[in-house]
Symmetry: C2
Subunit: 363 residues, 2 copies
């Protein structure tokens, strides 16, 4: 971001502003605070695409009545280790944490908890949820579907979301291993950035509206698609497609949400699908009590050993060597927790617009 | 395989020969039969690398006493939805099905079951286990670690196995979605085949012993490594590394098996790691009762709709269009179930060698 002008804000300031924005539409205070914290956590961890950069979209959706500010989130079916949750079209930033808590409570009771959620909306970063599980010595899992952007292997059109998978494992003296990955070859934000800079993107990221390989970011944005992780058949593109399928089914088919190309859009500019096959989008949360498998201290010490062992891998020449999953986000969080969160001017202007429309002071 | 000489055998014949081979070393009949069926299922499904092509390695390991023919497979810890299983160094082809059954029984009882297994050996194809779960209307999961072959992103040496992930979802009128993928960019078998044919491999499959990118299969085989799914940083190579990490921790750290580079080798030619951090290799099985989340018929009809929808994806020009995960293996199984299993001559010769050493008739 060194070549882009930014203004720095404290996370406290952004949380306050987001909370008041949610409250403005009738989101209860405690839930507005929670939603604001989930958003800020994304900015703190350096995943700017999922933080306050999305607040104006939440604002639009609430203003248009397309998100329910005060949902009645309910368990519609359950067993000792599972639940299906209907989010009543609430903010994913509120439905997600509640469903995740159900999974964690079940893990404490019977060893694991697994919750599939329908009728919900974007839930921020998947990593947020698995970090919550770590606070309770649980292995947390989180997945979500999202608006179609990704072509299945050998497909020429958008059919799947970027469908992320997150999971985390605690260490004892070391910080945890935190995995939080989209199942597409690259993030949509990277294609948008290349477009802004008028730069080509690597071969294997995108196809154009006719399904042809392209390196021009405009081709993807104007009706093309992202490719799944692995990109091409010989590089394992079918594997990225399989992983996105797994997420789609666990989040949506299992809960009764809209799967595949029928996920409702989040941004206003995106077309609403002609068909609906369920309610809202879907999430999937899991929690596993480590003590149900092995002594927690043994586990954590082995994770420390795993981390030390992998850090000691002979580096590939020309690289900085092997990182541990979660390193980049944790480093961002350490820096940004102290120095604040730099926002690019377009995002600042969006927050200013919310301020103007709501009367909530921003600067 | 059209350019390679093969001899065709019925799966029944191969099962009989494998069963008798296992029995020769004292594996009880029912378990020998089970192990033989798991192996044959791999050949039937066209995954030749994991079928009877490995029987001679099992033979070697049993002959050297490195696998226990009559293990006391035990649950060493459990909760209503979880178990940790010690396979007592048995055949993975026997330990795996037993542990999978524990997961399935727990799913029937409390909605889901999750079993981490230590002190075990290669278990065949991950897909076998999730197909078993389908017979009981369960969503099955299976993972395993394996001998080190894959470098983590930015690493210059082998640190992880090809660590596969399998999961399957049943349809109603359609055959199931069956996902069974390694977390490496390509299978080791493809590098071996390129070596036999003296052909280059695509960029992004392998590195040489110094960690440098290579297209020469000899470089990987002579001390180099496979790359993780995604291959390079900008193509998402960190994601393949993250997925392999997830499998490694769930199978090994959670069960007390040997993780990462310390997985004991399966083939005799491979070096035994200098350190041991647990017992044997590890597996991880999951089973989820669909009825615990949603009506089973609703689920299956939605899966049918999902399959129809994805088959109808606009094809990418120059390709055959979108497949459903599991299509290639199911088609192989249909053909091979009728016409038999073609084995290449080197594999036939290995089986002949077993026949010669044991006196069990093969042809």
């Amino acid at each position: 971001m060194s070549d882009v002008e930014t203004i720095v804000f404290s996370s406290e300031h952004l949380i306050e502003f987001s909370r008041r924005t949610f409250e403005y539409f009738g989101v209860p205070s405690a839930e507005a605070q929670l939603a604001a914290e989930v958003l800020a956590r994304s900015d703190l961890r350096g995943i700017e695409s999922h933080g306050v950069a999305r607040l104006h979209t939440y604002f639009d959706m609430l203003q248009l009545g397309r998100i329910n500010p005060n949902p009645n989130i309910q368990i519609v079916r359950e067993s000792p280790s599972t639940a299906t949750v209907d989010g009543d079209n609430g903010l994913g930033l509120v439905v997600g944490p509640k469903a995740n808590q159900i999974a964690m409570d079940k893990a404490d009771a019977v060893g694991t908890g697994w919750v599939s959620v329908c009728h919900t909306n974007h839930f921020g970063i998947a990593g947020y949820y698995v970090l919550e599980a770590l606070k309770r010595d649980l292995i947390g899992w989180a997945m979500t579907n999202s608006t179609k952007l990704v072509a299945p292997l050998w497909g020429g059109e958008r059919m799947l979301g970027t469908n992320p998978i997150a999971i985390a494992f605690p260490g004892k003296k070391h910080p945890p291993i935190v995995i939080d990955i989209a199942t597409s070859a690259c993030a949509f934000g990277k294609v948008e950035m290349a477009k802004r800079k008028e730069q080509d993107v690597p071969k294997g990221w995108i196809i154009d509206r006719n399904g042809a390989d392209s390196e021009n970011p405009h081709d993807m944005i104007n009706g093309g698609a992202l490719l799944p992780l692995g990109s091409f058949r010989e590089m394992g593109g079918h594997k990225g497609y399989c992983l996105a399928t797994m997420v789609d089914v666990l989040c949506c088919v299992l809960s009764g949400a809209n799967w595949g190309p029928f996920a409702p859009p989040f941004a206003l500019r995106q077309e609403i699908p002609k068909r609906s096959v369920g309610k809202g989008i879907g999430h999937f949360f899991g929690a596993m009590k480590i003590e149900a498998f092995i002594d927690i201290d043994d586990f954590k010490m082995q994770i420390d050993d795993w981390i030390d062992t992998f850090r000691a891998t002979t580096p590939q020449p020309g690289t900085q060597g092997v990182l541990i999953p979660g390193d980049p986000e944790r480093e961002a969080e350490q820096i940004r927790g102290q120095t604040g969160i730099p926002l690019v001017i377009p995002v600042v202007n969006e927050l200013r617009d919310i301020s103007k429309q709501t009367g909530i002071p921003f600067e």
